[in-house]
Structure formats: structure tokens, C-alpha cells
Amino acid sequence: MGTDHDHAHDPASQLDPMELRVRALETLLVEKGYIDPAALDVLIETYERHVGPHNGARVVAKAWHDPTYRDWLARDATAAIASLGFSGRQGEHMVALFNTPETHHLVVCTLCSCYPWPVLGLPPVWYKSAPYRSRAVREPRAVLREFGVALPDETAVRVVDSTAEVRYLVVPMCPAGTDGWNEEQLARLVTRDSMIGTSLALCPRERRRGEEAG
């Protein structure tokens, strides 16, 4: 997750006014006794290295593979997801949305940036941006086309605006040609965007780059 984009030691960023402002704020809050700087390091490491869409991909792959789990996920997503070890902050009340040939779900937060952190990590910039937040509820098919997804006219588009503390995970349709695959193999077809609803799961021949078995 972003490990090869680490700008932390980029000397140019040392002079950035935002960098200085945040350092000043941290110093102030430590001096006031409100924060433990070591806790900040753990928070950053958690969301930069450990929590991310690979968690959600495990949930989806298991739902594809195991009908009993799929039923549980449909009935009580919070518990079904917690059974895999993913729970807590910004995922306290989970609901799974199952895409079908008849219905495609797309998740947005028009008011801010609500997003299921335990299964997807922190949201990408586009999800938090004005274009996505304004247009997803008004012209989702146009937005989907910009993501390279052209849905048939017969497929209903259900946009889900996360306005409360319920957090939504889209379960994309399982691609064809995956008979006999195990959960680990299936998980490689599940992208972050397919769990937001801005894309579909990958076809077997386009598995996520750099994540081949072995």
C-alpha cells in the first residue's frame, strides 16, 4: 500500500508550509499533554501498511466461495466481517451490497468521506473529491464510464449515499472462468474500486498486477 511512494524523507518536503504547520501543531499538542507521539506512529503505520483493500478482498472472495458465509454477510455484515478480524473504527455498522446482473451498487459520501476503513483502508483522493461527491448521485453512469465501466441499460444503478454511521461494502459479481478457484486466488480479482462500485471485479486474465501467486 503505497510503500514505493514514500515521500517522508524527501528533503524538499521539509520546507513545505503545511509540513511546518503540522509539526508546530504536534509540538503544541505534545507539550499540552494531549497526545503521545508514539501513538501517531502506530496510527500511521496501521493505515499505511496494514489496513487496506486486501482486507475487503478477503471478505468478497469468501462470499463468492462459501454460500453459508455469503448468507451471513447478507444478514449481519458486521459480524461476518469481524469473524475475519476486520472491525472497529469507521466499520462499526457494516452492510454488504451484492451486485447482480439486474442491480449495480455504487457507494458515495456526498457530505464528507464516509468509507469502511477496516475493509478498505483510508479512502482515495477521488472518493473525497468534489467531482465524485457531486456527480455520483446525479449521473453515476457517466461517472462509471470515466472509470471504464459501461453498464447495460437494463441494469439498475443504486447509488448509496453514506450519510450515517452505516458503512457499505459492495460485493461485486464473481467473474466467469473461476470455477474451482480457492479464496486466495479469487481475492486477487477483487479491486478496491470494485468494492466501492466504480468498477467490476477483474477477469481471470487481468488479475491484479504484481500479486500473482507465489
Partner: protein, 229 residues
Amino acid sequence: MSTLTRSAHDMGGVAGRGAVGPEIDEPVFHAAWERRAMALTVAMGATGAWNIDASRAARESLPAAQYLASSYYAIWLAGLERLLVERGLATRDELAAGHALRAGKPVARVLRAESVAAALAAGSPTSRDARSQPRYAVGQRVRARTLRRRGHTRLPRYVQGRVGEIVALRGVHVYPDRHANGGPPFDEAPEWLYTVRFDGAALWGEDAETGLSVSVDAWEPYLEPEAAR
């Protein structure tokens, strides 16, 4: 428009915001300061000096031009600074100095490194025990109220005044419109929460895309029976 209280953050359906620009292989953070801004915000939230609804209210009440021109974590940072000052945890001169000029105010807890994992795993559930019957049932048609009051709300303007259908009951949850104000202690009096689905045509008229529906999660005080008007 249907309400007087929309601010810049309430973006659903607003025109002229341009194309969505996904970034290939996007990093979690785009600068070192974004990491610290995220962590500072989460750690200060853990002190119990405010809650998530107050945090949202602080970000939303930034001047519209600033909100629209700022990057995401810059908004978080400005919201955090505002809360620190509003809640008496720091002063503007201290923010400017980057040092404490006075002793800190007591806070309920300080998040320590060793308790981060447990705190994140626990989260802050907003559901509460139901002590009333829900007013609405699945299948019922309801109108989202038109809000004119000031202050924090989670009812987006694009559904206000529109009729939709209750498609799910989500239990009883802390009501953000009250929870955002004051405290600690916070007003956690909960309300029933529903998912309400609106046909695209009910929201956007003849402009609506084929087969579109949009749902929001709405607390009971946001809703009225379809006929009431």
C-alpha cells in the same frame, strides 16, 4: 432552492465540479504532513474532548471558499485547529507559536501507542438500545423534510422535500444534529435510523439517468409521512 442551510460540503448533485480523476497506484498519503494530520486528528478525537459529529461540524463550518480550495487533510487540519480553540484546549497564539504558552486542560484520556490497536478495533459504535417503536416501516413512502435551521445535519439538501421509500431499518443511533453540539458530556439521545430510497426522477426529474435510484440513511426526525405538507 429548497433550503437555506446548504454549505459547501453538501455536494450531492451540484453542477460544475469537473471530472473525477482517479490516480493509478495512488499512495495512502501524498505528503509526510498528511500522515501526521490524519494521526493528530484521530488521536485528538480519542481524548474525548469532542466527537465525530463535532469534527464534521467544524470542517463544514469553514468558509465555503476555503473548504472548496483546500485539500482533504488541509480541511481536517483546519477543523482540528478550530475545535482546539473552540473547546478551550489551545489558543490562536499558541497555534501561531507552535508551543504551549499555558498548561493543558485536563482531557478524559490520552491515546497511548500500546492502546491504539484496541481503540481502533473497538471503534465508536453509534447504535443504542431501542426504547421506542419505529414510526415507519419498510415499504412506507416518506418525505425528507426541508430543513431551514442552522447547524450540523446529515440530511443532504438534494433529497430535502423529496419523497422516497423506506427500504431498511438500521436500528437506533446517536443523532448527529444534537450530538455535534456542546459537551462533554455529549447528548447521545438516539433516534431510529432508516435507509430511504429515492427514484432518480424524484430527485432530478427528466434529467435522471435510466434505472437510477439513490438512497440515504436518514434519522426519524428527518422524515415525515408522504401526505404531510
